[in-house]
């Protein structure tokens, strides 16, 4: 299409037509899923605040600063007392809740940790606080829809492909932005024109303003869909290498103290603090080791976890290495996707940008539908002659 209402619309050169085709089809395929992701992602930005608001939880005791932490073996024992016959998989120190330790508990060490129950324990007294069932929560349902649509790894990878298409749509959108703006200044919004023109201006303006943010959040989302694969690659690569001499061993009948394991890790990397412990036989370590994952204290280094492997029979250090680049890339892509690394103002900005992205998707969908089935009747006759140069950005 190179003529609308008697005015030459775009130089319909072959490459440009191709870019329009790419923009149209990449968008059409991913738009419905991207709308779902933007809508479910919006409450997830504030999931902590929403959970606090909707659900009661037992608060940890208030203690003066500098109070020493409770012995971990005792704390874990208190949690397990509530789950007789079950075993701990992980210990998690939540950045957002420093007074509580989370103990992830499953029926056996081989059970899928996705179904684990989280017990909260007071970091300072070691007392059991609660272990709420989160699976019915609003934020849990949003999270499942957002990460895999309740379809497991295939669902996750599928959403990843949609994310790639979204990135393709953004990049092709930059290319088709140029012919649309030949005769319009930056920020043009022709408020007196029919809706198709106004929404085209909104689509072009919002799309070009948000290019970097949509690309970064889109692509880091894609990287997150590969988390399970990244974990497998690490297990069969670096982890297998570090624990090669333990390859054929079974899980020790009696585990060494987890408190001592964490102490050894702290002594090994004194400038870092423990963020996460994986029990021997769980998915983040070997059958013979506690893996104590350490983190730094800046926004970046607090994401880049460094594993320390402690022999769970002798309690001695086996090895500690920096994660390979692809795991670091995954770690760094998480804050850039979640927007949780710059306080509440950044979360609010994330939400606003998310809403504007919904506007881009919605106006894009409208423009495509209108172009596909031009309205007949008086309204169409009114809009047709005035269809401006800009409408060429609507893929035809």
């Amino acid at each position: 299409m190179n003529r609308v209402g008697g005015r030459i619309v775009i130089s319909s050169t072959k490459p440009l037509r191709r870019w329009h085709w790419v923009h149209k089809w990449s968008s059409i395929v991913c738009t419905a899923f991207m709308l779902m992701l933007c809508i479910t992602g919006l409450p997830l930005i504030f999931h902590h605040e929403i959970d606090d608001l909707l659900h009661e939880e037992v608060k940890a005791s208030v203690v003066p600063e500098g109070t020493p932490q409770a012995n971990l073996d005792r704390a874990v024992g208190n949690a397990l007392a509530k789950f007789p016959g079950q075993v701990p998989h992980f210990l998690i120190w939540d950045r957002d809740e420093p007074d509580a330790l989370l103990v992830s508990i499953g029926p056996t060490i081989n059970a899928n940790p996705v179904d684990n129950r989280l017990a909260r324990v007071d970091v300072h007294t070691g007392a059991f606080l609660d272990s709420p069932d989160v699976t019915g929560r609003f934020t849990y349902i949003m999270l499942k829809l957002h990460t895999d649509m309740f379809a497991g790894l295939p669902g996750k990878l599928f959403l990843g492909v949609m994310g790639i298409l979204f990135c393709v749509a953004v990049i092709s959108g930059i290319v088709v932005y140029a012919p649309a703006m030949r005769k319009l200044k930056f920020g043009a919004y022709r408020s007196e024109r029919p809706r198709i023109v106004r929404w085209l201006d909104v689509h072009n303006l919002a799309g070009i303003l948000l290019v970097m943010w949509t690309l970064v959040v889109g692509f880091t989302g894609v990287i997150n869909t590969w988390a399970d694969l990244v974990l497998k690659a690490w297990q069969f690569g670096q982890l297998a290498e570090m624990t090669a001499q333990y390859k054929d061993r079974q899980i020790p009948a009696k585990l060494s103290s987890v408190q001592e394991a964490v102490d050894v890790a702290r002594k090994t990397i004194p400038h870092m603090q423990a963020a996460f412990v994986a029990y021997p036989g769980s998915i983040f370590t070997s059958k013979s080791h506690y893996a104590v994952f350490m983190r730094g204290d800046t926004p970046v280094t607090s994401r880049l976890l460094k594993p320390t492997l402690i022999d769970a029979e002798t309690g001695k250090l086996t090895d500690s290495r920096d994660m390979p680049w692809f795991v670091s890339a995954l770690f760094l892509s998480q804050p850039l996707h979640f927007g949780d690394y710059g306080g509440m103002p950044l979360k609010v900005i994330w939400a606003l940008l998310d809403i504007i992205t919904i506007v881009i998707l919605w106006t894009g969908l409208y423009l495509w539908l209108r172009r596909r089935k031009p309205r007949t009747g008086p309204a169409a006759r009114r809009t047709a002659p005035s269809s401006p140069a800009g409408t060429s950005a609507v893929p035809s």
């Binding site: 930059i174 005769k183 920020g187 919004y189 408020s191 760094l332 950044l346």
Partner: protein, 64 residues
Amino acid sequence: MIASRPARQSLRQIFLAPLVVGLLSTVGLVSALVGDGVWDGVSWLALLLPILLYTGFLLRPRRD
């Protein structure tokens, strides 16, 4: 005045403002990762810019 039709613009004219916004967005995305305090502030301002421009352009009263 801005919505009036200027002569055919070059690619440079078309992409100058988007390029500046894109670069500032990149600064904003990275700076809160680098540190807290001032770094967070830079991040907020830089990422607020596209939102302000968006609402500003849509709400601007017409002048013709």
